[in-house]
Each structure stands twice: as structure tokens, then as C-alpha cells.
């Protein structure tokens, strides 16, 4: 009886499968484990991850790593994926400043125009001139109200901007009712002496005048050219509960528009496509180009910078020289990215059309032998590099109950989507494609304007719920769940993620429906597009009708909705498609590791 281990090093996780082989050559699988990959796939630092995964697996059967008589590593596919994003329209230039925000409690509906005046400068105010009063947080609501009431009739105050959250408190104490905006954090950036327009929306509505370019023109007396320039401001104020637009002297901002640029593909055919044309056209061009050797962008443009960034990022990993990096596939996806508006006083952004790109780089042969050598020395165990990844994945995938050859595998990982078809004779055709889980995370992050990628990863992974009281929450599918013990008040009224370790709070105030929509769209755009693209490439005669079974494996196949999305799409082609269940118990993970053990048994026979 011998114990052998199959080890699969992936972009994000390292999988281990332990096989026990008796004297008759029968194999059983007592344990398996997975750990995060340490370092970039294919580098010697991977050894740490491998060792901890082996330890974890062996601990499950009460044995030590030294009991393993043979370790088999996969010949990892020499591809690394990366993502980048670029907007089509560069920097929005305006000669007005603006604050548009959603304080929870502004007061006094309506709009007002006047000269901005600081509370401390009220003494210099003149009669017969309309003013907008600007008050820092150090003044109390009672002082503000009593001063405004006292000068009422002498100095004409048309509206108030507060730094503190006290709009209702001030408004309730005013004799003459005027619009009051509060929670303007960076009040010191509001310039004294300029003309400004403020608006507080009616109950249940968004602002009307300041979200309309002609409305701004009316309030601030703008000509046609100026009105054209404030359009982005109006656009970014749509749906806000309150807004401030300040007219600043023109001419101090220069326009600097960077063109989107051309993508050059060099392959069987050399063609180019403009980023402006959108994702669909770009992907068609990629398909037309056939087998691609390298992809570059026009220098000095957005797309040029984007590809440059990807290549620099890759060479920083230290596995390859920058001149040796060739992008062999891209997946382009239409998206929206928040762009900072110049002149925005509180860092407001507006959503602009953008293209997200996942690129895949073919590297030289990965130094798997070095990893094997290092592992051999550390553990004193026999280590061999065995088998092509796709074939191993195929061998593993066939252990899913209900499958037979010919079989197509879609391996959806973090960095790339790989497809392979194995026919009855064991012959295999395969393809590696750019774009997988990491691109989905990037799309979620940019479209929701999240600060960090980690939160986007969580949103991708877990379903949502809204905590509606301390005792119940509504799940994203409309279901309600009730809890025995009250929910922590920190989650009250918020959108949360249902992770296996309890609730995760969404810090940003985004409606649940919006998050669900962005998440599903991102997954569909990446995985459905890529699944079709990949299967068309490997299918006999390039025809999907010649594929009968598709088994989904890899980390992204564990997702709670991607397999269903693909099943729905593939059902139109009468393809049986579903999440793999390796050895009937592992789910979609561990296919390659299992394949490595099985191939050993095959070699023995």
C-alpha cells in the first residue's frame, strides 16, 4: 500500500489530492486539501503553499507528510492573467465648481442664488444683495438661527450651507423659511464672494434645477457655450437630494483630452481596432485575427498606457523580461467607471463609459522542475512533474458522476478561462483565454466605486441581504429570515453579505438591487462571453452543436450563480452543462490534483 499526492498549483489556490494505492493497483482517495498559492504561480515560493496544503490533507487522516511516497506536480499552463481598465472619455473639464451630495436630512425645499458669504464675515454684507450663508461646524444651530432671524429684513439671506449635520435644527428655528444644506464636510473649500446656486429637492424627489443644464444656466446666467460646459455637472447631480453649484471665473482650467486610441493585434492577420468602438467590436476583431502573437496599444493614448501597465506589472513579478512579454489574448468588456470631476469640491465623481480588459500573457516554460527540486530537498520525498494541466483536469473531471467521453471541460479560475475537449480516443484540444474571476472583481469594484478590491471579491462570492429590523432580514431573492437572538445594531438598516463566518457589512450606501444587478452583469459579461468563445475554439469543426457534455471546474465554478447562468445559455444548444463534482464528493475543485493521482495509476498498469 502506498500514499501518493497530486499537487495542482493555480493562480490563486494550490490543491492537493492524496491517493492510497493497494497492492492490486486499486486506488482510494482518503483526503484532499486546498491552500492559497504563495507567490506567483510557477515560482519557487509556491513551495510554502504546497507544504501547508500537504500538511492539512495528511492531518485529516492522522498521518505525517513524510508518509507520502510520491508527489506529482502538474505541468502548469504557462499563462498569467492580468486586468486593467480605461475610460473612453478623459477628464471632464468645467469652469464651475460643484457640491452634489445626499445628506440624509437637508431642510426647506427649493432653490436659491446668491453670493457666498462666511458666517464670520456677515458684518461686511451689503443690503439689497442676495447671499448664501456658509457656516462652519463650530457655530451652534441656536446661534446661527438667532443671527439669521435678527438680520432678517436688513440683509437678504437666501440659503444656508452648513458643515454640521444640523439643517433641520436650524430650519425649525428660522422665521423666514429658506433652503438649508448640511453635512458639507470640506466647507473651507467653498470660496467666499463667488456666486452660487443651491437647491434642496422636494420630499421624495431629486434636485430639478441643478440637474438640468438649462436650470443651471437660468440660475447662474450662463451663455450657450458655458451651458455646454456645465452639462457634466448637471449629469452628476441627477438623483441627489441637495446640491450646490458655484460659478467660478473661467479660464483657469485647460482642456486636456486624451484620445482612447487604437489596439494593434498581430496574429495570423494584422488588424487594429479603436477602443471607442466598444467591447463587442473589439472581441470580434480578436476573433478575426486568429492565433495572436502579441497585442499592443497606440502609444500616447489611453489604451497604449493600459497595455503598458499590464506589461510592466508582469515584468515586476520577476519571472520574465518585459521585452519577452507577449499578450496573446484579451477579453474586453463594456463597463462604467467613476471619473473624478475637476472642480468637484468633495471628490464627486460621475460614471463614464469605460472598457475593462483582461489580458493573458504567455510566458516561457514555467520553472516547475525548480519547484520539484526544492520540494524534494525539503521533504526528502520523490517528486515528479507529470502531465499537461488540461489532460489532468480532463481525467479528474470524468470522475464526476453522469459524464462520459467525449467531454468538454471549462476550467474557470481566477486569472484565465481554459477549455479542453477530450474525445473517445483520449485526444485533446485545448485553449487558454484571458478573463475570469479577477476581471469580475475589477468590474464590480469600479462600477460600484468601491475603495478596495477585497470588498468586491466578497460581493462576488456571497449573496446579499438587507437587515430590516433587529430580528429579521430580507434576502436578495425576496425571502425573509428571522433570527432567534437580535442582530448586532451595527448591521441595522444596512445591506450585508451572508458569508460562512457571519455577516459582512457594506460600508457604502448602495441599494441592494443595484449591487445584485452589477454583480450578475459582471459575471455574465465575463463568463458567458468567455465560455462561448472558448468552446467555439475547441469544438470539432468550431460548431457548438458537436459538444454534448460540458463540465465546469475551477474556483469560479464554485460560484453560487455562474453555473446556472451557463446552464441556461447552453441549454439552447442542447448541451448538458453543470458544475463538476470530482470523485462525486469534491465539487468543482481538485480536478487536476485528482487527475495527477489517476494518471499515475494508469502509468503503473
Amino acid at each position: 500500500m502506498r500514499l501518493i499526492a497530486g499537487v495542482d498549483i493555480g493562480n490563486s489556490t494550490t490543491e492537493v489530492c492524496i491517493g492510497e494505492i493497494d497492492n492490486l493497483g486499486n486506488v482510494t482517495f482518503p483526503a484532499s486539501a486546498s491552500c492559497p498559492t504563495t507567490g506567483t504561480k510557477g515560482t519557487v515560493v509556491n513551495v510554502h503553499g504546497i507544504k501547508s496544503a500537504l500538511k492539512e490533507a495528511m492531518a485529516k487522516i492522522g498521518k505525517d507528510v513524510s508518509d507520502i511516497s510520491l508527489i506529482r506536480l502538474n505541468e502548469a499552463a504557462p499563462v498569467i492573467g492580468d486586468t486593467a481598465m480605461e475610460t473612453l472619455t478623459e477628464t471632464v473639464i468645467t469652469d464651475s465648481s460643484m457640491i452634489g451630495h445626499n445628506p440624509s436630512t437637508p431642510a426647506g425645499a427649493g432653490q436659491a442664488v446668491g453670493k457666498l458669504i462666511g458666517f464670520q464675515n456677515l458684518g461686511s454684507a451689503r443690503q439689497n444683495e442676495p447671499y448664501i450663508l456658509v457656516v462652519p461646524a463650530r457655530y451652534s444651530y441656536e446661534d446661527i438661527a438667532s443671527v439669521v432671524n435678527r438680520i432678517n429684513g436688513m440683509i437678504n439671506i437666501e440659503g444656508i450651507i452648513l458643515q454640521a449635520d444640523e439643517a433641520v435644527l436650524v430650519y425649525n428655528r428660522l422665521d423666514k423659511k429658506i433652503p438649508v444644506i448640511d453635512e458639507v464636510k470640506q466647507i473651507d473649500k467653498v470660496p467666499d464672494g463667488e456666486i452660487a446656486a443651491i437647491e434642496v429637492a422636494l420630499e421624495g424627489q431629486g434636485v430639478r434645477m441643478l440637474s438640468n443644464p438649462y436650470g443651471i444656466a437660468t440660475l447662474l446666467n450662463l451663455d450657450a457655450e458655458q451651458t455646454r460646459k456645465v452639462t457634466p455637472i448637471a449629469k452628476s447631480l441627477v438623483g441627489k437630494r441637495s446640491a450646490v453649484v458655484i460659478k467660478t471665473p473661467a479660464g483657469n482650467v485647460k482642456e486636456n483630452v486624451l484620445p482612447a486610441g487604437e489596439i494593434y493585434l498581430s496574429g495570423e492577420k494584422d488588424i487594429s481596432v479603436n477602443l471607442d468602438e466598444g467591447a463587442e467590436k473589439i472581441m470580434k476583431t480578436v476573433a478575426d485575427a486568429g492565433k495572436i502573437n502579441d497585442i499592443t496599444g497606440q502609444s500616447g493614448t489611453n489604451v497604449g498606457n493600459m497595455f503598458e501597465r499590464i506589461k510592466t506589472g508582469m515584468s515586476d513579478l520577476g519571472t520574465v523580461e518585459k521585452s519577452d512579454i507577449h499578450i496573446t489574448d484579451i477579453l474586453a468588456v463594456d463597463t462604467l467607471a467613476p471619473v473624478k470631476i475637476s472642480g468637484a469640491l468633495a471628490g464627486e465623481t460621475c460614471l463614464e463609459k469605460a472598457v475593462g480588459v483582461a489580458a493573458m500573457v504567455k510566458t516561457h516554460h514555467l520553472p516547475m522542475e525548480k519547484i520539484a527540486e526544492s520540494l524534494r530537498q525539503d521533504l526528502g520525498t520523490d517528486v515528479v512533474v507529470a502531465g499537461v494541466e488540461a489532460i489532468m483536469a480532463g481525467l479528474g473531471a470524468v470522475t464526476t458522476p453522469g459524464t462520459k467521453l467525449p467531454l468538454a471541460i471549462l476550467d474557470m479560475g481566477g486569472g484565465s478561462t481554459d477549455a479542453a475537449i477530450i474525445n473517445e480516443n483520449g485526444e485533446i484540444s485545448m485553449v487558454h483565454q484571458a478573463g475570469a474571476g479577477e476581471l469580475v472583481s475589477m468590474l464590480i469594484q469600479t462600477e460600484l466605486g468601491l475603495e478596495d478590491r477585497h470588498m468586491a471579491e466578497q460581493i462576488k462570492r456571497y449573496p446579499l441581504a438587507k437587515v430590516e429590523s433587529l430580528f429579521h432580514m430580507r434576502l436578495e431573492n425576496g425571502q425573509m429570515t428571522f433570527v432567534e437572538d437580535s442582530i448586532d445594531p451595527r448591521f441595522y438598516g444596512r445591506v450585508v453579505l451572508l458569508s460562512e463566518n457571519g455577516l459582512i457589512r457594506m460600508e457604502k450606501d448602495i441599494p441592494m438591487e443595484k449591487i445584485v444587478q452589477v454583480r450578475r452583469d459582471a459575471k455574465r459579461k465575463v463568463f458567458v462571453t468567455n465560455a462561448f468563445r472558448a468552446l467555439k475554439t475547441v469544438a470539432p469543426d468550431g460548431n457548438l452543436k458537436n459538444v454534448s457534455n460540458v463540465v465546469l471546474v475551477g474556483g469560479s465554478a464554485e460560484d453560487f450563480e455562474i453555473p446556472e447562468m451557463l446552464l441556461e445559455e447552453f441549454a439552447n444548444y442542447r448541451i448538458v452543462c453543470g458544475r463538476g463534482n470530482i470523485r462525486g464528493c469534491e465539487g468543482p475543485r481538485n480536478a487536476v490534483a485528482t487527475g495527477l493521482v489517476l494518471s499515475y495509476v494508469g502509468e503503473m498498469k
Binding site: T105, V168, L169, P489, Y492, G493
Partner: protein
Amino acid sequence: MIVKRPSIFVYTNRHDDIMLKEICAGIEEEGVFFEVFEKDFQDLATLSFDAANESMMGSGIGISRGSVALAMKGVQKGKFVEYYDKPTHEECRKIGANSARIIKKMPLK
């Protein structure tokens, strides 16, 4: 016929005036009604629990000397949504605002 106004109840015992004023300002800013009652017992758990259960909106604040607690109807007695001993002005505002936000079903501050 409406018997009770839909308001947050604030039950106090030997309270600090400035503290009470800030708490009420917190509620007022959120636009919810409130009523203040002076009580003759000083147990904070009872003050806030009774306030929450007797308020039509199910949200109540108890103030006993320098301590303040926010309670919600249905939550067991002695379990506070928020609690401060010798709170700052900001904390008073916050607990007031949160008592209103519970009713409005908005995320707490």
C-alpha cells in the same frame, strides 16, 4: 382617534440638562417627534425598557444621571442598542439620531 403621538419616549431621572438637550437635538434633526418624561426611579435598564415599550414607535431612551441608553421594543430588558456613560456632546447627538433612525429603518450612525 389617535391616542398617542407617534413619538420617541425619553424617560429621565435626575438628568443633566445639556445632555438631554443634545439628545433631543439629535432626534429633532432626523425629523421625528419625541416626548420627555421625568420618572421617579433611576434604574437605567427599566427607564429605557419602559420608554421603548410605552412609545408607540417602539424606540426609547433612558437617562439616569450621567448614563444614557437606547432601547428598542422587543429587545430583552437590559440589552441596549447603544449605551454611554458620561457621553460627549457628539455621542448624545448620535444616540438621539439613532433612536430616530431605528424608526426610519435607516443604518445607524
